[in-house]
Symmetry: C2
Subunit: 496 residues, 2 copies
């Protein structure tokens, strides 16, 4: 009888091995289908220390082509990365369309651990849970397949595994203090994991796998992944419907109703400019020390004077503490990701000022009008942008958005001036003329954009720029006022 038992056991083991091999080769086949379908996949493997996340990933990737996937390790973040919003590290690593990213623990572990170690408050914890849900929903709506696995082991199993790792000299170094601390507080962690999973299943479901039997866990994970990919391939790339949340908005006038006559005389301009630049320079020092990130967004009509306006701002700033990010058409590897990705990866560090010369609002202007994205994509973008900007201001950033405004006649005069002045000709292109023809279409889109995205936390300002000097002074005043307020409120904000 025992002999039979042993035989059965051996057979089961072989069958399991064969099953895993089968899934591995299915996955290998799926990789080309994913590529053809341009379907991106994110696999998040969370779970207890010593649950076997690393070896699970090793099995998952063992047959597939390295050109096709990417593994993100659970690095202890260098201080530099801590100076970005908490999701930055993960957003940075999302795959291109048609590829897979495996996260060897990720945003869940980050949030739970920081909360249990009292590094973030309950308020911040709730915020981050919300941000995680937003992040995952945006991914899903953008066509990403997100598979989330929690690898579970009980306390005794963890004890045995940690002991085995610690007692072998070649693996001892892998056990961190934090792993041991987690074990000692197993119950608290268990509750916290549970709570997090309950609260973060909105956009994509959690799958809990039993990590105590390694091979079975690998089989189950492979099966899950292969099945989910198969479903994804059959239903085709998902394009989400717009989703609306009521953000507190400020009311904006229609562009047509804006009075563009304000101007400033030269003497007044010089005086004001000097005063404001001096003040801005002082404020730059303070926000640098207080580590407040500042994001200034410039949008506006062609030839409205964005460039000159930006230069009057940067002139007051220490080059060590700011960057101007000119936004041109997306590069291929940017087009192949969620549209906000190229802005996420260009965010400033805390204490730095980042000036976007054109922004993510291209999605609801040029991309919408020229048909570079679907109607649904641009419709969905309003809310996605509001969420993105709330995440920035929650992080502590000052976000100001300027619409540099001129009327059609002034634009024409400036276009002609550029055309007729040799040194300025490079500033005017055929595209500018083409865009001008679509003025009315743009105006409608811009009115809608201003209406839907002028949130209280990240407001729009219409800058009347028929008189460029007036525009510069107005912009500087807004920036100075906002930074003064941010410096005053700083202590309250960090104590939230």
């Amino acid at each position: 009888m025992l002999k039979d038992f042993e035989k059965k056991k051996r057979e089961d083991k072989e069958a399991l091995g064969a099953e895993i091999k089968g899934y591995q080769s299915t996955l290998l086949g799926q990789q080309q289908l994913l590529r053809d379908a341009k379907l991106p996949v994110i696999v998040l493997i969370e779970g207890w220390a010593a649950a076997g996340k690393g070896s699970l990933i090793k099995e998952l990737i063992s047959e597939i082509d390295p050109r096709f996937y990417n593994v993100v390790s659970p690095v202890v973040l260098p201080e530099a990365d801590e100076r970005y919003p908490f999701l930055y590290h993960y957003v940075k690593s999302i795959p291109e369309y048609g590829k897979i990213t495996f996260f060897d623990s990720g945003w869940m572990e980050n949030v739970v651990r920081k909360f249990l170690r009292h590094e973030i408050t309950k308020t911040e914890y709730r915020r981050r849970v919300r941000q995680v849900n937003e992040f995952e929903r945006q991914l899903r709506n953008g066509g990403y397949l997100v598979v989330k696995i929690f690898l579970h082991i009980d306390k005794d199993t963890q004890f045995e595994r940690l002991r085995a790792l610690t007692e072998a000299p070649e693996t001892e170094w892998r056990v961190t203090r934090e792993d041991l601390a987690q074990h000692k507080e197993y119950k608290r962690y268990m509750e916290a994991y549970d709570e997090f999973m309950e609260k973060s299943g909105e956009a994509s479901a959690w799958y809990i796998l039993d990590g105590s039997r390694r091979k079975t866990a690998v089989r189950d994970a492979m099966k899950l992944l292969v099945t989910r990919i198969d479903q994804g391939l059959r239903s085709g790339k998902f394009v989400g419907d717009p989703y609306y949340e009521d953000f507190p908005l400020k009311e904006m006038p229609k562009l047509a109703d804006v009075d563009l006559s304000p101007s400033i005389d030269d003497e007044e301009y010089k005086k004001e400019l000097k005063k404001l630049q001096t003040r801005l320079s002082e404020l730059h020092n303070i926000i640098y020390r207080k580590k407040i990130p500042v994001i200034l967004c410039y949008e506006g009509w062609d030839a409205a004077g964005k460039g000159g306006n930006i230069r009057r701002v940067t002139y007051s700033l220490d080059p060590r503490g700011f960057d101007v990010r000119p936004i041109a058409s997306p590069l291929p590897h940017e087009l192949n990701r969620h549209f906000l990705w190229r802005f996420w990866t260009r965010l400033p560090r805390t204490g730095h000022i980042c000036i976007f010369d054109r922004t993510w609002y291209g999605r609801v202007m040029v991309e919408r009008i020229e048909g570079f994205c679907s109607e649904k994509d641009s419709e969905r973008a309003y809310n996605e942008i509001n969420e993105f900007e709330r995440m920035l201001t929650d992080w502590g950033a000052v976000v100001l958005k300027f619409w540099i405004h001129v009327d059609k006649d002034v634009q024409l005069a400036r276009f002609n001036d550029r055309q007729n002045t040799p040194e300025k000709q490079w500033k005017i292109t055929d595209e500018d003329w083409r865009n001008r023809e679509k003025w009315d279409e743009y105006e409608t889109a811009i009115d809608e954009m201003l209406e839907k995205t002028c949130t209280k936390n990240a407001p729009w300002y219409i800058i009347e720029s028929n008189d460029k000097k007036y525009a510069r002074i107005k912009t500087l005043k807004i920036i100075v006022k906002a930074l003064e307020k941010a410096c005053e409120d700083h202590f309250e904000r960090i104590m939230e």
Copy 2:
């Protein structure tokens, strides 16, 4: 008389201001010429603490378009960056063709400061000076205009400036301990700066400017920059001649002379594979702890079996400690920089293994044969690559290069197999067939490449891959042996 004197002084000051304004607007005009000429410019501003580097840069950039330049700040490197070769931080930031990068202190300060603070040995200091010269020469030969300025102030001036900064509460935080230490050791620093400049003027000259009179220094720097750009524009983008240094080489056979018959039987293969993978896994742990970076380079004929070979290696590795970098055609922003830039920016951190699936050798194979670069460019590349790889091994990396070799018949059989097997069809493209037609041309190029770049520090290995299993075992053996040696020699290397 005093009145006249005052008047003269005022006039001089105004004249100086007007002169600066003039240069600023010249620079503004030059920016479009630079763009048209696709000429990249690097401006390195070195000099004493409090010499006015920051405000000089502010003046230099004040009129130009932010889309057109980039300022690299003298950040204290986060620990993460210290895990890359020392030039990494600077190479990362070189401009695209047609743009300017300003370095607010750079590689000179880095080397000198680290040496004076005993963080690097004399040997390492000499190496870095050599690397700096190589870096600058490669830049110049690649058409970069490099302008190097040292902003000098004497000890008393530095004292007064540091005092003024320290005594004002809003600037106090800007004075670092290191600045004060530098002042206390003014003489030692002076000698070290002097020595460094003497040794690093080969590829591009140093300009010493007097920083004690700020406005004059700005004028002089502007004039210098504008003049140098003007010269650069007039002479057109520089294309350097090949430069040769005698690297210690290993002799390589011609591909035609390689015996491709070696094979291995199945049982032996399984046994060896298991043994080698287990050993590699152990070694991965050790190199991770010892922080030895490992760079494995794969090149080979289409269908030679690179992918499968790589997977047999990665299977033994912890996904947290390695990356596979598949190298495809360069993206636009990569094409617009020195050809090694896209490899520099993909280097592994210390302790990590990086597998390049195709490499920088594309320069002397496909780019040469398809005419994607000039004859001179690819001719120059042999030495540039040898320098690049020496820099890697000097840094402590293990660099191994594999040529995965098959004969023409075997390739044909594999192509046909791919063509006829539905699941494999994605692996074969028209390009593969086109490349095959150029087999002889490639063979000549490869023979030359193997001959000129098989350095002792970063050797090539020809892997006979008519039998893929034999090839995998041979590759694994070479890797295991090299890593064992690196672990043994580790202490000697770091004590150098």
